[in-house]
């Protein structure tokens, strides 16, 4: 089974760190990431630029609307994620507790329902499962799919099947075009847990992590030329019509991992 470990931490606290503390934090993440890969349990993972560089995309009546900022104002913000392959949920919680921000912030642990992986045969040489990259792509973005889970419950199986087919077609298309890096569909937010470490002791509480009208339902990680291309990709995700897609640029952490 696979779990997505979402790093929820206060950006405000992060901004007060000095250069030395910041460096130490990055080194700690680097060490954690290397160990996770050596253990063979790591899937896709990435660090995100702060939410002030986020853009939210919605499509209503075929009209695209683009706005500044993340889709929800929360006390803690998504700073990055790991997807892990484990045998039991407890194993996922144990890994989550080792993430540096489990102390001070929280790690939201969400079951992955369906991992979208690169086409067979493409080079997965590093931790980032890079497929065939579009020639003019220079930057990676995370497209966070946010929608009211109740929408799915209201659909007939035929309607839900149609939307799933749309997702599959989109995935296939962006794999061919060289935009796709990774993606996942998550299980319901209520099935999630929050892992925190306080004074060295681990606590696991029941989800959902944040009470928002729309919940994180999955993601695509893509290569794009610039923000405009990332926005155009986000607008083609079915959830852009019913919920929204938050576009977050990835942080370059190559110096640490």
């Amino acid at each position: 089974m696979e779990y997505m470990l979402l790093i929820q931490a206060s950006e405000r606290r992060f901004a007060t760190l000095g250069q030395k503390e910041m460096g130490a934090n990055m080194e700690a993440y680097g060490t954690f990431t290397k160990e996770l890969f050596q253990s063979g349990r790591a899937g896709d993972c990435a660090a995100l630029e702060p939410t002030k560089s986020a853009t939210t995309v919605r499509v209503r009546n075929d009209q695209r609307s683009v706005s500044d900022g993340p889709y929800a104002e929360t006390r803690e913000q998504l700073g990055g994620y790991y997807v892990v392959k484990v045998e039991t949920p407890d194993e996922a919680y144990a890994i989550a507790a080792k993430i540096p921000d489990a102390t001070g912030g929280a790690i939201e642990v969400r079951p992955v329902r369906n991992m979208v992986t690169p086409e067979q045969g493409s080079a997965a040489k590093s931790h980032a499962p890079v497929g065939k990259k579009a020639a003019d792509a220079t930057k990676e973005y995370l497209l966070l799919i946010c929608e009211d889970e109740a929408n799915w419950a209201k659909m007939t199986p035929a309607e839900a099947g149609k939307i799933m087919a749309e997702y599959n077609a989109f995935s296939a298309e962006i794999k061919t075009s060289g935009h796709f890096v990774a993606g996942a569909q998550l299980g319901p937010a209520a099935a999630g847990k929050a892992v925190r470490v306080k004074n060295g002791a681990r606590s696991v509480t029941d989800g959902p992590y944040a009470e928002t009208r729309e919940q994180l339902g999955g993601y695509y990680r893509v290569w794009a030329r610039d923000l405009d291309e990332a926005i155009a990709l986000a607008a083609r995700i079915p959830a852009a019509r019913t919920g929204c897609v938050e576009v977050r640029p990835l942080m370059d952490t190559s110096a640490y991992v």
Partner: protein
């Protein structure tokens, strides 16, 4: 160095040079601005060589500074340390303004990118294209310098981190993106024309900046009707600047009482011509219809002789294109003029739900009630005065209520 040529550089050439530098810096606003200010500092200190134009020399020095900064940035990036030594040293050179080409259109579209908050779009446009200092932009919006500096810093950081492209949008995206640009310019104009905050009624500096940005957009997109229509609209409204307030500049004079000999005939003529050009280029946009409404006012010799039937008809076609409460309010007022205050009041009642909490609604209602000699006018004025945000508006309403 002569201060006049320096001031004229700041007004005329700064935006052009800055946009070229941003293009060269790969869209990094901060790096380009730093290079320009460091070059300006040097040129102010050392002067320009004989026969070199100030603009070309500043541009040349700034380009050199930018190359230095880029080299330093690469040196700091340990992955690129090896590349740094292979960059040739270009030395100072004169930059031919014509050969550089106009990068300002890219700058305009980047400043008004929808992934930036509207207030950041406005601030960036004034700072980079308008050439206002951060302090001046802060004063224009009545926030502190550090607050505005932080707002501009966040916007520039987002452009860099999210990689907002430094490009003119693809033709398919152009209408939507151009509209954002025009909205920003009109917002600047409106803030100047009817300050939403504070004691001042009218800020000519902001109106003038908006006109300059409007002219720039027209010059950069000569085949597009909308920039022409927006500039026409601003000119036709701004033509009344000297007549719409008293000598102190603090008391509002209604259209009805304005001395029409003080309207700028030059602006009205120029606005008319631009509106005609816009209408020849394409079907009338909302900008063009609004400009046409102002043109009808501009041509009337007195308030009584204004063709209100024509204005009401223009508002009706504006409503078909953009049905917003504010347009409906103006349409109701025009109806009241064209077909009697009773008709106006009836139209107005339909929008109380939307605008009942604004002074505009109650002021319009009070005027119509007063024309009908109805006693409820007094309470309507009182409500309008209570809701007015601008001191001059408030005093104006108090005078109307008393008179």
């Amino acid at each position: 160095m002569e201060t006049t040529s320096f001031a004229s550089f700041m007004r005329e050439d700064r935006g052009r040079v800055l946009s070229a530098l941003i293009a060269r810096a790969g869209g990094d606003f901060q790096m380009a601005e730093d290079a320009l200010s460091s070059a300006l500092e040097q040129v102010l200190r050392e002067g320009t060589p004989p026969h070199a134009s100030l603009g070309a020399w500043v541009h040349g020095v700034a380009k050199h500074r930018l190359v230095d900064a880029q080299r330093r940035a690469r040196m700091m990036d340990r992955h690129h340390a090896a590349l740094a030594s292979s960059e040739p040293d270009e030395g100072y050179e004169l930059v031919d303004a014509e050969a550089v080409g106009d990068e300002r259109l890219r700058l305009l579209f980047t400043c008004c990118h929808p992934a930036l908050a509207r207030e950041a779009q406005v601030a960036l446009a004034l700072r980079t294209l308008g050439g206002l200092s951060t302090e001046e932009v802060a004063r224009a919006f009545l926030v502190s310098g550090p607050t505005m500096a932080a707002r501009l810093g966040r916007a520039k950081e987002k452009i860099r981190a999210a990689k907002i492209p430094y490009v003119v949008p693809e033709p398919g995206d152009l209408p939507e993106r151009l509209d954002a640009v025009l909205q920003v310019i009109y917002l600047i104009f409106n803030e100047g024309y009817a300050c939403t905050r504070g004691e001042m009624l009218h800020r000519r500096d902001l109106c003038a900046e908006a006109r300059r940005l409007g002219e720039l957009t027209v010059a950069l997109l000569p085949d597009s009707p909308d920039p022409k229509a927006l500039l026409a609209l601003m000119l036709l409204i701004d033509a009344r600047r000297d007549a719409r307030s008293d000598e102190s500049g603090r008391e509002l004079i209604a259209l009805e009482q304005q001395d029409r000999t003080r309207w700028s005939r030059d602006d009205i003529r120029a606005g008319d011509a631009l509106l005609r050009e816009a209408l020849e280029l394409g079907p009338p946009s909302t900008w063009a219809i609004e400009a046409a409404i102002q043109a009808v006012h501009g041509h009337a010799t007195s308030y009584a002789e204004t063709d209100f039937a024509q204005i009401a008809a223009l508002y009706a076609s504006l409503l078909e294109r953009c049905d917003t409460p504010v347009v409906r309010l103006n349409a109701a007022v025009a109806q009241g003029r064209a077909r009697g205050a009773e008709v106006g009041l009836e139209a107005l009642s339909a929008i109380e739900g939307d605008l009942g909490q604004t002074h505009m609604y109650w002021a319009a209602r009070a005027e119509l009630l007063r024309q009908l000699g109805r006693p409820e006018a007094k309470a309507a004025y009182a409500r309008a005065i209570e809701l007015a945000g601008n001191d001059a508006e408030r005093r104006f309403l108090e005078r109307r209520a008393a008179g």
